[in-house]
């Protein structure tokens, strides 16, 4: 049995180790879906609720002062002698924000949570790039937020992969500060995905509140390793001094059936509270086991949860 919590697979060193061509081919058919039609800065490939310049007629409305006279329907004016403006459905781009928790607690587990988060970010980012969405990545830890802003188009895939490969897990997490920074820096509206284990000792509520506002469709993907979900099954036994790899905090435990049962109850309660918090703020929450196959996750689970289509 491998050592508890230590990954047995090698860390990815090349972009194709983050995302292979087979997965890329499958992801070419997938797009990021938003529950709203967002306004974008540039004209994109998706319809927006915002009426604007396009060929698809949407509605009429009364002319008010200051409207662009180019959109006045003169034929209607001729018949009715009243000024109406023709409104068209405008096609806009989508802003996709992916925030990766790069704290030390993520760099743990077998399979490793940080590696899993980077692969998932790579896949989601690739979907965004392929569909000409504006993709922005953030990596956050105690050291601050490290952005890779405004990528668009398939050719930026390598750049994004290299950035992800170069990411290092930091020490402690500073989720609230990082989310505040992201919320302030993002512009417009779009889809935001947060990849983290959400194991923050200083609480996550404040940070999520920053995200809840604004026009972003937010997804909290909580990534947990199998050792965290069921430690007894994966060989955690005996009299132990558990050491937190982030802050060196220790917890002396004697692993017993009762303790494991209580741990599971606590984990379920923790995840349940996070889910409740998110649901109340229209944030989607999904707990992901790092042992889950990435293809299945992307093409099945995330589709069902409405992140992809």
């Amino acid at each position: 049995m491998p050592e508890f919590g230590v990954s047995t697979e090698p860390r990815p060193k090349r972009v194709d180790e983050l995302i292979d061509s087979e997965l890329m081919a499958k992801l070419d058919q997938v797009d990021v879906m938003s529950r709203k039609i967002f306004a974008g800065k540039l004209q994109g490939e998706r319809r927006s609720k915002r009426r604007g310049v396009s060929v698809e007629f949407a509605d009429y409305r009364h002319y008010v002062h200051g409207d662009d006279l180019r959109f006045v329907d003169w034929n209607v004016y001729a018949r009715l002698d009243r000024l109406f403006l023709k409104m068209f459905l405008e096609e806009e781009d989508l802003s996709l924000l992916i925030a990766i928790d790069a704290s030390a607690s993520m760099d743990w587990g077998n399979p490793n949570k940080f590696v899993f988060a980077r692969r998932l970010a790579m896949a989601l980012g690739y979907i965004g790039l392929v569909n000409h969405n504006r993709v922005t990545l953030y990596a956050f830890s105690r050291e601050g937020v490290q952005p890779l802003p405004n990528l668009r188009g398939r050719r930026r895939t390598r750049e994004m992969g290299t950035w992800l490969l170069d990411l290092e897990s930091g020490d402690e997490s500073a989720f609230n500060d990082a989310m505040r920074h992201v919320a302030l820096s993002r512009q417009g509206k779009g889809v935001m995905v947060i990849l983290s284990d959400f194991m923050f000792k200083e609480s996550y509520e404040k940070g999520l509140r920053y995200l809840a506002g604004g026009g972003y469709d937010t997804f909290c993907l909580q990534i947990l390793s199998p050792e965290e979900i069921d430690p007894g099954k994966h060989g955690l036994a005996g009299d132990l001094r558990l050491t937190d790899i982030e802050d060196e905090d220790t917890a002396e435990v004697t692993i017993s059936a009762a303790l494991l049962k209580r741990y599971k109850e606590n984990l379920d309660a923790y995840c349940g509270r996070l889910r409740d918090f998110c649901v109340r703020r229209a944030i989607s929450h999904l707990t992901i086991d790092t042992a889950t196959d990435l293809t299945t996750l992307l093409l099945d689970y995330l589709r069902k949860r409405g992140l992809l289509k």
Partner: protein, 661 residues
């Protein structure tokens, strides 16, 4: 319940239990395990209490089980045992000693040691077949009684009635105590050889020995896996004075008188005074008072060395055949060895025939023998005539002086031949030799009593090649000088040289030899009755071929009618009790009853020492268990050990169940 070694168990408990409890006070030494986040664990953990080196002792099922295991271990070391009559498995062999020493009456109440042994053995049977709390089936039991011989009284059975009946049937004997045959018998019945491997199968039996421990061959025994439980019988204060030697002789110069010699031994550790009584045919003849010193205990072997005192009674005239008894009149615990008897044959006067004398030498020597009543000198022709007529048996001894009859002319009788080799089978002459000395003499043969042949020089002699059954009495430097031939009723002593061809006539040993040889041959038939038998031996004698209605009168008053196949070689045995045995018979055509008496004496030092042995050991193995009466204890320590293991396994199971479910 009793405990064999309480201190050892208490010491163990005192040593291990406090450290165990202390271990529960001490905090655990934990292994470091890196983990992503301790957030949930801190909420879950229940023993993140104080950081002090000791923690409060909380109720723990594991601690209770460990304490229970240690207490059971300590109890096992204390070796508890309960009084229980039953063993759990296996066969049992009841060995009851019925030797002479077991007839001692030193037990409390009535009866002898044998009675006590039988009573205890019956109690043991009762206990074995009464089911107790810690007993299972007692299995099968066998009863063997042993003295110098072993006898199976009951084969393996689980019938209590048969076993008790068999024990009741055991009779005392006056034999020595020997256990070898009993063990052989027991093993023969308990060991079932595996036909494929020729190795015994099955568990060895448990041997229960009821004895006083005075067993002659006990230290030669090697137990083959058997368990022996010893039930000592008898009192350490047993008192015994024994007649250990009796000897009666007719003085050389007074053939009709008898001289009685006896030796008494004191087996007590204090001096004793006893009257020694001499009786002739039951009539008191003399009484002497003797004092015998205390027996000594050999410091090196711890064996009792009895003090002895010899008694010689003044010779008295007794030409008749009588029964002479020497008895110690002192009242002691063992009566069987208080008296010794001998049957003295009548002072017989011999009739001797001297055939073809060459010189005056032999005739003169024979004429000087006091025990010869009549001597006839026969010519060779006269002898052969008598031999053909079958009338030769009128002579007790026939002496050939350098004469050898024709083959077939030596009917059964007793012959002394000098010179020429008689035509007897087994004496193969192959020439004549010259010049030899005597090298080796069978000293213990009666004919060499007071005979010294060292000075003898033989100039001419017959060279003999004796057969295997011919006993060479005197071996010369070049061949046998004197040989003895004994075939049924034919008995001969042959000197291979003519005394005139040697310097023997000038030596004192010549006359002595002639007297010894004639008396030995003449009394040969009756000499046996002058010696006594010992219990365990077979009573053998010669009776007339035509003897019938043969009755044996036993010392206890009983009579047995016997019908031997060949009365000429009568044999009966083994003899069980000491005393006088009388054999009566008659011959056809005569109403006269013939009678012959035999004395059987217990002249045994080992049986005389009747102090019971408290603890007995077998050879090389200290496996004989000293039993305490008929009580059988069942040890409980294996149960305690087993329970301890069960508790440890339960503790292990609970620990792992708590840890891994």
């Amino acid at each position: 319940m009793s405990w064999l070694s309480v201190p050892a168990g208490l010491i163990l408990a005192a040593v291990v239990i406090p450290p165990l409890i202390l271990l529960y006070f001490l905090k655990l030494r934990r292994r470091a395990q890196p983990i992503a986040c301790t957030l949930l664990w801190k909420r879950s953990v229940e023993d993140l209490r104080a950081n002090a080196p000791f923690q409060r002792l909380r109720p723990s099922i594991l601690l209770l089980l460990q304490l229970l295991a240690l207490i059971l271990l300590a109890l096992a070391i204390m070796q508890p045992q309960i009084q229980a009559g039953q063993r759990t498995t296996g066969k049992t062999v009841i060995l009851i000693d019925n030797s002479a020493s077991m007839t001692a009456s030193d037990i409390e109440g009535e009866g002898t040691r044998l009675d006590e042994a039988k009573r205890r053995a019956k109690d043991r049977i009762e206990t074995l077949y009464d089911r107790g709390l810690f007993s299972s089936s007692a299995g099968q039991t066998m009863v063997i009684a042993f003295s110098d011989r072993a006898e199976v009284y009951c084969r393996f059975t689980d019938s209590k009635g048969q076993l008790l009946g068999a024990i009741d049937r055991i009779q005392p004997t006056h034999g020595e105590s020997r256990i070898t045959e009993a063990l052989t018998l027991a093993r023969a019945y308990t060991t079932n050889p595996d036909p494929e491997s020729d190795r015994p199968v099955g568990d060895p039996a448990t041997l229960e020995l009821f004895s006083d421990g005075r067993i002659a061959d006990l230290d030669e025994q090697v137990l083959r896996g058997e368990t022996m439980l010893y039930h000592p019988i008898g009192s350490p204060q047993a008192d015994n004075v024994a007649v250990t030697v009796i000897s009666i002789e007719r003085p050389y110069d007074r053939p009709t008188a008898v001289e009685v010699f006896a030796s008494l031994a004191n087996f007590n550790t204090k001096p004793v005074t006893s009257d020694v009584q001499l009786s002739v045919d039951g009539v008191v003849r003399a009484i002497e008072e003797i004092t015998i010193g205390p027996a000594q205990i050999d410091a090196s072997t711890a064996a009792l060395v009895a003090q002895r005192r010899n008694v010689v009674f003044t010779p008295f005239e007794q030409p008749r055949g009588v029964v002479i008894e020497v008895a110690s009149l002192r009242d002691d615990d063992l009566a069987a060895d208080n008296a010794a008897r001998l049957v003295v044959p009548p002072a017989k006067r011999l009739t001797v025939a001297l055939v073809a004398p060459k010189s005056f030498l032999l005739r003169t020597a024979l004429e000087g023998i006091g025990s010869i009543q009549r001597m006839e000198v026969l010519t060779a022709i006269r002898y052969e005539t008598l031999a053909e007529q079958g009338a030769i048996d009128q002579y007790d001894v026939i002496v050939f002086d350098d004469y050898a009859p024709e083959a077939g002319m030596m009917p059964p009788g007793r012959y002394l031949t000098l010179g020429s080799t008689p035509p007897l089978e087994g004496l193969n002459e192959f020439g004549r030799g010259e010049g030899q000395l005597i090298l080796d003499v069978t000293d213990n043969h009666p004919v060499f009593r007071f005979v010294n042949l060292e000075q003898l020089y033989i100039s001419r002699f017959h060279l003999l090649q004796p057969a295997d059954d011919v006993q060479v009495l005197a071996e010369g430097s070049r061949g046998p000088a004197i040989v003895a031939v004994s075939r049924g009723q034919m008995q001969a002593i042959c000197v291979t040289f003519d005394p005139l061809d040697s310097n023997w006539p000038f030596l004192r040993s010549f006359v002595t030899f002639i007297v010894n040889a004639v008396e030995y041959l003449g009394h040969a038939g009756e000499a046996i009755s002058a010696t006594s038998f010992a219990p365990g031996e077979a009573l053998t004698t010669r009776l007339p071929v035509a003897a019938e209605r043969i009755d044996l009168h036993l010392p206890d008053g009983g009579t047995q009618r016997l019908d031997p196949l060949d009365p000429a070689l009568f044999s009966w045995g083994p003899i069980r009790l000491s005393g006088i045995y009388a054999l009566t018979w008659s011959v056809p055509g005569s109403d006269q009853k013939h009678s012959r008496a035999f004395a059987v004496n217990l002249l045994s030092d080992r049986e005389g020492d009747i102090r019971p042995v408290e603890r007995i050991l077998a050879k090389e193995e200290d496996v004989y268990v000293a039993g305490a009466g008929a009580t059988q204890y069942t040890p409980l320590w294996p149960w305690a050990i087993g329970l301890c293991l069960a508790v440890i396994m339960l503790e292990w199971w609970i620990y792992h169940r708590k840890a891994y479910i």
